[in-house]
């Protein structure tokens, strides 16, 4: 019994210290209150910003570290040669094109829903581009900053066709499978409660296990972002036996996120995205960009870096947008290539059409 004593004492001392230091409102040590940080420490506030920011770190490293999913067709999924493909992947490729003039200088890191924020917080990746919903909590207390929306999505439910159900409202007392650590879990709880329905939730960390459990009949329904349902349905034994119910129960604006506190880096992500949308709006694509340099439309000339040097303002090369468009494409090309009508997912543009075509995709003016 005696040999337990040191461990017990250690545990108690450690626990007590933790509790004391984290008590709500407790200062983080008497001499170290955030207000009277020494000057040196203040400069250290955003360590990356002090060292010339994430951009500098990425340049010195020679490649971009991009956090993606563990395999979601259309968004981030390795193809049969092991190359990553998808909208979220192309966003990172576009950033590499803008930064290095070479879209291939990206290293991808596959992350589960649960791992993603910790990986970004801890600096394992430079940008998180992993079908991640922009929410207030994530934007504030998680220390993240969302740079824009790459895909407007919403949460839906998939069921077996032979269940004979055509609405989520008919799923009273059903069992629902989902991914843990997602907005999905929270939305489902809200929706069933507000509609006075009961349900049982089974949550897994890995999507492959969710799918396996759903396929094995553990649950009546699988719920996640509608785009995710279309993508995951392809992985089922008989995709045709499953239908996606019409209700969309939430807003899921998916977009890339970076660490808070490096505004210039956030700007680079944001304007990479806008450049792709602006290019589609201006009719510039990967095939005609070279040609378009001769256009006399000033907006096109600005975007392609023929006039002015917006690239330099961002800390990038003058032809940043030209590189993005020629190496990766405009937003419409990326959409069609990865999830559009001619892909197995076959998703219509819908909300993701340009604002000029009844959608929500709207780039701030590049000027």
């Amino acid at each position: 019994m005696r040999n337990q004593a040191p461990a017990l004492i250690f545990g108690i001392v450690f626990g007590a210290l933790l509790v004391y230091l984290f008590l709500p409102g407790a200062p983080s040590g008497p001499a170290r209150d955030a207000q009277d940080l020494s000057k040196a420490e203040q400069e250290n506030l955003a360590p990356e910003a002090a060292r010339g920011g994430t951009l500098r770190v990425v340049r010195d490293r020679g490649e971009l570290l991009c956090g993606v999913s563990q395999g979601l067709p259309g968004f981030s999924n390795p193809d049969d040669k092991g190359d990553w493909r998808g909208i979220d992947v192309d966003v990172c490729r576009a950033m590499a094109a803008a930064i290095f003039g070479d879209a291939s200088k990206v290293r991808f890191r596959a992350l589960s829903a649960k791992e993603r924020f910790t990986a970004l917080q801890a600096g394992e990746i430079d940008v998180l581009s992993r079908n991640t919903t922009w929410t207030l909590t994530r934007d504030t207390v998680l220390g993240l900053d969302f740079a824009g929306v790459t895909y407007y999505d919403g949460q839906s439910f998939m069921v077996r066709r032979d269940l004979g159900v055509s609405s989520v409202l008919a799923l009273d007392r059903a069992t629902i499978c989902a991914n843990t650590g997602t907005t999905t879990e929270l939305n489902a709880a809200d929706y069933f409660r507000t509609n006075g329905l009961e349900f049982e939730m089974v949550v897994f960390e890995k999507t492959d296990e969710v799918i396996a459990a759903y396929d094995a009949g553990r649950c009546e329904a699988y719920t996640t972002d509608a785009s995710g349902l279309y993508a995951e349905r392809l992985k089922l034994k008989n995709p045709d036996e499953h239908i996606i119910l019409p209700e969309v129960i939430s807003k899921e604006p998916l977009g890339p996120a970076v660490r808070q506190g490096d505004d210039r880096w956030a700007d680079i992500v944001r304007w990479t995205l806008y450049a792709m949308i602006e290019a589609e709006e201006l009719g510039v694509n990967s095939a005609n960009a070279q040609e378009m340099k001769k256009s006399d439309n000033p907006a096109i000339r600005r975007l392609l870096g023929v006039e002015n040097s917006y690239g330099q303002n961002l800390g990038l090369r003058g032809d940043w947008a030209f590189q993005i468009i020629t190496q990766v494409g405009n937003y419409g090309e990326i959409f069609e290539r990865n999830v559009g009508k001619n892909t197995p997912l076959g998703i219509p543009r819908g909300l993701n059409a340009l604002w000029t075509k009844g959608g929500l995709m709207y780039a701030m003016p590049v000027r």
């Binding site: 250690f10 983080s28 207390v141 998680l142 220390g143 489902a188 089974v202 553990r218 808070q260």
Partner: protein, 401 residues
């Protein structure tokens, strides 16, 4: 800095020790006091180190604009949990979600330990059976299960259980409101009329006392003890006019209502943990039994004791001294391994708190620290209990004086 301070202290103390013969110097020369001082210094160093570590972490979190503190525990969790021993809903706070996780971990750990012990002792003894087939089968069981990673066994049980069991509409049922299907095991729940449950518990306690006296004072055995023990609760129920009813599970729509339900994740986890650990316990039991000197068995046989009695009264009590220490570490392993639950969606502490809650509030340091403290406390509690038990088993030297 601390290093130079320490060396100056040591330097100073030895200087005093060398130079003078006053009381202070002498006490420094006393190895016991010197030992204590060194211990105190080390403890101080460790405490300082931990303090620095925690303080730095808090500061860094603040710099990165990541929230810190335990305030989030009072916020509504927002997510549902499908297996809970206490009242819980998505509107409950994170602290309650934490306790749901703790209790679910404790439940599977305690039941797992009981089952693993039963399996381990049965298989371990079977392994030494004179019956060739029984011994070989037990050996096969042990060697196979010890050598396949637990995670694989967990998936095996989970998906096998899921695939083999029928849908809810085609539930397996032996009648009596018991149903088994791919949503779990459903059994009736006993409902007590208000205020009758506590007296019943008291009656059960009375049964225990009665049984004890029946055995110790009146040397009764077997069914007679049982019959006497059954008296108080039965009498009480009759006097109160049978105040219980059964809440039967019934299939309504997509799910069973009423009764008690055990989800497949729980069943699979319990099976995997107790069988896997049971295989290790079996080996401990075998080596414990083999450690008992042969002469003991031979002597018992010579006295004409039947073999069951030899095992229970002669071999096992002596073998226990060898079995208990490694048994303790198997119990600890089982508890820690229960955190693999997360792979098959059993809502244990890791899934509910270190996974779901963590990704909803993002406060990794606090949440992981709380989770670690829980496992530490459970493990220390188990060790303390097992060490006490071990001390009780130890050979007691009769006073020869």
């Amino acid at each position: 800095m601390i290093k130079s301070w320490l060396s100056s202290v040591i330097g100073l103390s030895s200087a005093i020790g060398l130079s003078g013969d006053n009381a202070l110097a002498r006490s420094f020369q006393d190895p016991r006091i010197r030992g204590w001082l060194m211990q105190a210094a080390v403890l101080l160093l460790v405490a300082l180190g931990i303090f620095e570590l925690v303080q730095n972490t808090v500061l860094n979190l603040q710099k990165a604009n990541i929230a810190s503190g335990f305030g989030f525990l009072e916020n509504p969790a927002g997510f549902a949990i499908n297996f809970s021993l206490i009242e819980y809903s998505a509107q409950s706070d994170f602290l309650r979600a934490f306790f749901v996780g703790v209790l679910n971990t404790l439940l599977v750990a305690v039941l797992g330990i009981v089952l693993a012990t039963l399996i381990g002792f049965s298989v371990g003894i079977a392994r030494l059976s004179p019956n060739w087939l029984v011994a070989r089968l037990a050996g096969l069981f042990i060697e196979t299960l010890r050598n396949i990673p637990l995670l694989l066994q967990l998936f095996f049980w989970y998906f096998v259980v899921l695939q083999l069991l029928p849908s809810q509409a085609e539930s397996l049922t032996p009648g009596g409101g018991i149903f088994l299907n791919n949503r779990g095991l459903f059994v009736p729940r006993i409902l007590w009329e208000a205020g009758t449950f506590a007296p019943f518990c008291a009656a059960l306690f009375a049964s225990l006392v009665l049984a004890f006296f029946a055995r110790k004072k009146f040397a009764l055995e077997g069914w007679k003890v049982l019959a006497i023990a059954a008296l108080p609760p039965l009498l009480l129920l009759l006097v109160l006019g049978w105040p219980l009813s059964l809440d039967m599970p019934v299939l309504e729509g997509f799910g069973f209502q009423g009764g008690i339900s055990l989800i497949p994740e729980f069943i699979a986890l319990l099976l995997a943990l107790s069988i896997y650990t049971g295989a290790f316990v079996a080996e401990n039991v075998r080596s414990g039994v083999q450690a008992v000197p042969k002469g003991q068995v031979e002597a018992a046989k010579a006295l004409g004791l039947p073999s069951g009695l030899i095992m229970r009264k002669i071999i096992l009590p002596q073998a226990m001294r060898v079995i208990v220490p490694p048994l303790t570490s198997q119990y600890l392993n089982l508890t820690k391994n229960s955190s693999l639950a997360v792979a098959i969606a059993y809502p244990d502490l890791v899934l509910v708190f270190a996974n779901t809650a963590l990704s909803q509030v993002g406060q990794a340091v606090e949440i992981i620290a709380m989770t670690m403290v829980v496992y530490l406390l459970i493990s220390l509690g188990t060790s303390l209990f097992m060490n006490w038990y071990n001390a009780r088993l130890a050979l007691k030297e009769r006073g020869v004086a």
